[in-house]
């Protein structure tokens, strides 16, 4: 089925197989391999993208359901080779280890900051509830989001949860 959609501001028209999920379509048909597949079943959040303003698990959506949608993925973050503020905060605060969860994590964090410029720690935790990270233990990720929203105290004064 022919579908048209916007990804990171760019319009694509493609013939999508009915039985392909949006995650595989983005990775294989559009060649945007930043978005990852962990479980393929809605549990891990590695495949999180923003679709029409809301975070979704792209593994649980058919490509054909995204006809007409506006989508944001991790590839839309860096501009002209310069990392976004959120990416910089992740890098600076060691919120990336193996990096597998990071593209999805950043999408969830981005959606949070779009709605809530100064989220509390509890709000950050709730926002990334659907994103598993098996490396960092989450603390650095929470700090990165605090940093990106201008709320991180100097490291020395930081009380770890």
């Amino acid at each position: 089925m022919k579908i048209s959609l916007k990804v990171n501001g760019r319009k694509y028209t493609r013939d999508a197989s009915e039985s392909k999920n949006l995650l595989h379509f983005i990775r294989e048909d559009l060649g945007l391999t930043g978005t990852k597949e962990g479980c393929g079943a809605g549990e891990c959040g590695a495949c999180t993208i923003i679709m029409n303003g809301r975070t979704v698990n792209s593994c649980l959506i058919l490509a054909v359901e995204a006809d007409g949608a506006e989508i944001e993925t991790i590839e839309g973050e860096a501009k002209n080779g310069k990392l976004s503020k959120l990416q910089q905060a992740f890098q600076k605060n060691h919120a990336v280890q193996c990096g597998f969860c990071t593209p999805g994590m950043i999408m969830s964090a981005k959606a949070l900051l779009q709605k809530n410029a100064k989220p509390s720690v509890e709000e950050i935790k709730a926002a990334i509830e659907g994103n598993f990270c098996r490396c960092t233990g989450y603390q650095q990720i929470i700090e990165a989001v605090q940093d990106a929203s201008g709320q991180l105290k100097k490291k020395g004064e930081l009380k770890r949860a």
């Binding site: 009915e18 392909k20 595989h24 393929g40 593994c59």
Partner: protein, 277 residues
């Protein structure tokens, strides 16, 4: 790649009805896909045709009227229900229950209709809607019928829906608006997880009910109790309604114990007139 299937997305109820009638048993309805896509991913099912119902406008509406009460279209997603002003004002229990489903990503896709059609014993909308005395409207080429939710679930993952029918909307009666309420969901972890048991209570001047999830083959509800029922009477009715089993998530004894604990604590909240979490 998933198994081969064809995909249809009718835009009117009439087209949907005729598709379901023609392909009864072959066509499977796709709403948010958060249950269906998992089942297909795991090769548990291999439908011949998926019928996406999200393009049918009236199925996506939430309406409130003083006459009927609240009408929730089948494809309304959890996030929309949580945000809806009338839900927040008149039926806050439903917003609370929807908030307990999955993660943000799930709530942005999971529909209320899908939750009731999957009909898992632990469906979070099940026990809350039961406590509020809701019913569901089922439609097909043969006509429309309304079924009380307490009669709708017939077994684990089984309901009264026929193969050619669609769940169109959920109706929550007006006399349950502004009910005092409380809900508990027991999980193994703090993050997103299915319920080991869940308890939802609602009380108005005329009636009190307890809806219980994960404690019987389906979500269940007590008989209609008088608003003045004592804690003992409420617990008695609750234990009569449930029939828990041992499974991977919890033992039967633990489920019974925690159901009793939760009924006690929610009851105390209601008695204090504090209708909060």
């Amino acid at each position: 790649m998933l198994q081969e299937f064809s995909y249809q997305a009718p835009t009117t109820l009439k087209d949907l009805y005729s598709l379901l009638k023609k392909r009864a048993g072959k066509a499977v309805i796709l709403a948010g896909g958060t249950d269906l896509m998992v089942e297909m991913h795991n090769n548990w099912i291999a439908p011949e045709m998926l019928v996406d119902i999200k393009k049918i406008r009236e199925l996506g509406e939430i309406k409130f009227s003083r006459k009927e009460g609240l009408s929730i279209g089948a494809t309304v997603v959890c996030t929309e229900l949580i945000k809806d002003k009338n839900v927040q004002k008149y039926y806050p229990l439903l917003a609370d229950a929807a908030h307990r489903i999955g993660s943000h990503q799930l709530r942005n896709r999971a529909t209320i209709g899908g939750n009731l059609c999957t009909a898992s014993p632990c469906a979070d909308m099940g026990c809350s809607l039961l406590a509020l005395g809701a019913s569901v409207e089922l439609g097909s080429a043969d006509g429309v019928r309304i079924v009380a939710l307490k009669d709708y679930f017939t077994g684990p993952k089984k309901t009264q829906i026929q193969k050619h029918e669609v769940l169109q909307r959920i109706i929550v009666p007006i006399d349950m608006a502004n009910a005092e309420w409380g809900m508990r969901k027991l999980k193994r972890i703090k993050g997103h997880d299915l319920a080991l048991i869940s308890v939802a209570m609602a009380r108005t001047a005329g009636v009190m009910r307890v809806g219980i999830g994960s404690c019987a083959p389906t979500p269940v509800v007590t008989v209609d109790l008088p608003a003045s029922a004592s804690l003992d009477k409420v617990k008695e009715a609750t234990f009569k309604a449930v029939s828990p089993i041992d499974d991977v998530r919890a033992s039967k004894e633990y489920r019974l114990f925690m159901t009793g604990e939760y009924v006690e604590s929610v009851y105390a909240e209601l008695t204090r007139g504090r209708s909060r979490k």
